[in-house]
């Protein structure tokens, strides 16, 4: 994949500047990082990630990877959605201390298999669990900004309504774009006026989303599944069960 190589291998550590910090939910903050010029020019693909490195005054270092959530249209900066993890040394530092103007060491963009490009015009199914929306958000934003005609459907599972990251933006995108459908599901109780689904994503829900996207007895050309390990494992199995090819199901997993 020569095309992806041109935008990866950002092996050199760079220093970015935090230009915005926003609460997205009780446990997730959004950080915008302005990139140095040479990184900005290199661009990235929707779905790629950056490695972040923190260094303590005594030299101790910690690194973590975070997916880019912003669209590649604006390569000068990247947005990251950082979920506060219990005992997470990097996420807790970001939540407690990082402010606009701070410098952060990073390198990237990295990855290339879990990426979506506007040249892909065939139907695509996105399935996200919790903060697994992060790399898919970049893809959906790129889908919208590139006026893609690829039929797309996002099925997004969260615990409670306030945990649905980017809820307003996703609903606006789906309303404005006839090529994007949105199915939200909550697994830990729903508000009175809830119009989405109210259970964990199961085989029936996957079947329903595929029918809605490509009609009965058809399959999407590509699926992107991102979330916790067991979430991705079970949905990956469903997608193989319905007949999707192994290489057409792209996954990204986090958590033990």
């Amino acid at each position: 994949m020569a095309t992806s190589r041109s935008r990866d291998g950002g092996a050199e550590w760079q220093i970015a500047t935090v230009s915005s910090v926003d609460d997205e939910s009780t446990r997730v903050k959004l950080f915008t990082l302005d990139l140095p010029d040479e990184r900005a020019k290199a661009g990235f693909f929707a779905g790629q990630y950056y490695d972040l490195r923190l260094t303590a005054p005594d030299g101790y270092q910690a690194q973590r990877s975070y997916s880019i959530t912003s669209s590649p249209d604006d390569p000068g900066s990247i947005e990251l959605a950082i979920e506060l993890i219990t005992d997470g040394e990097v996420s807790s530092y970001f939540h407690e201390f990082v402010e606009v103007g701070d410098k952060i060491e990073l390198r990237g963009p990295i990855g290339g298999h879990f990426t979506w490009l506007p040249m892909i015009t065939k139907p695509v199914l996105f399935i996200a669990g919790g903060s697994g929306i992060a790399p898919i958000m970049s893809m959906l934003r790129h889908h919208a900004s590139s006026n893609s005609t690829a039929p797309a459907l996002l099925m997004f599972s969260a615990r409670n309504e306030p945990d649905i990251l980017y809820k307003d933006e996703l609903e606006r995108m789906a309303d404005a774009d006839q090529n994007l459908a949105l199915i939200l599901t909550l697994t830990r109780g729903v508000p009175d006026d809830w119009r989405g689904e109210s259970r964990r994503i199961d085989k029936a829900m996957v079947d329903q989303s595929i029918s809605q996207l490509v009609g009965e007895n058809n399959l999407p050309d590509r699926a992107y599944v991102c979330g916790g390990s067991s979430f991705v494992e079970s949905i990956g199995n469903y997608l193989l069960d319905v007949g999707m090819g192994h290489n057409d199901v792209r996954t990204e997993r986090f958590g033990p």
């Binding site: 050199e12 923190l54 952060i104 990295i110 390990s229 792209r250 986090f254």
Partner: protein, 200 residues
């Protein structure tokens, strides 16, 4: 670059040094680029090719009939977690080459897997007890999401080199990038030298 208010949690404190940029993980995270492929041991087979010629092939039963090796080792994943004191059982690549009756190859080797995954390493890194085909983890059959029934284990390199669902090793003269290596991951992948990506 120092982050002044960062001190790190450093919990748990590693009982021995772990490679730079790694943290200790008690669980066993799963990282795969695709879904877990369905693999049936009744039809499973493994083969070794040298310069395009198949020099040996083994069924599930044949693999289990070979001398078995137990290995206790630490694992280091490029996604930053390390897991200490893991227990594996399987067959060394030396045993397979010996069973095939061939001389130890030089050069490089590409692992090929169910699902299409590939990864490349120097031949020297899978011989002399450094590389195994493992089928048992912590006394139990290796779970499918961790590469069962059989994965490659090369624990001195980052874990993406320890290919899950492995079906063949193809020895070759020239090095050639595998799945993640084509996307910019390091051709060798030594965690102690922090060779995560091209250029490291």
């Amino acid at each position: 670059m120092i982050n002044n208010k960062f001190f790190g949690r450093r919990r748990p404190e590693p009982p021995r040094p772990i490679p730079p940029g790694q943290y200790l993980e008690d669980g066993f995270p799963v990282l795969s680029a695709g879904p877990t492929p369905r693999v049936d041991t009744a039809t499973w087979g493994f083969s070794i090719e040298i310069e395009g010629n198949t020099v040996g092939s083994w069924s599930w039963d044949a693999l289990n009939a070979l001398p078995q090796t137990d290995l206790h080792t630490d694992l280091h994943c490029v996604t930053k977690w390390s897991k200490l004191d893991t227990a594996w059982r399987g067959v060394t690549i030396d045993t397979l080459l010996n069973d095939a009756g061939v001389e130890v190859p030089t050069g490089f080797v590409m692992a090929h897997c169910d699902g299409g995954y590939t990864t490349n390493v120097p031949a020297a890194d899978v011989i002399d007890g450094k590389g195994l085909l493992v089928h048992t983890y912590d006394g139990e059959p290796l779970a499918p999401e961790h590469g069962g029934p059989v994965r490659l284990l090369i624990p001195h390199l980052y874990l993406w080199k320890s290919a899950k669902w492995v079906r063949s090793l193809k020895f070759m003269d020239q090095d050639s990038p595998g799945f993640w290596e084509r996307y910019g991951y390091h051709m060798y992948g030594d965690p102690w030298r922090e060779q995560r990506y091209t250029g490291d």
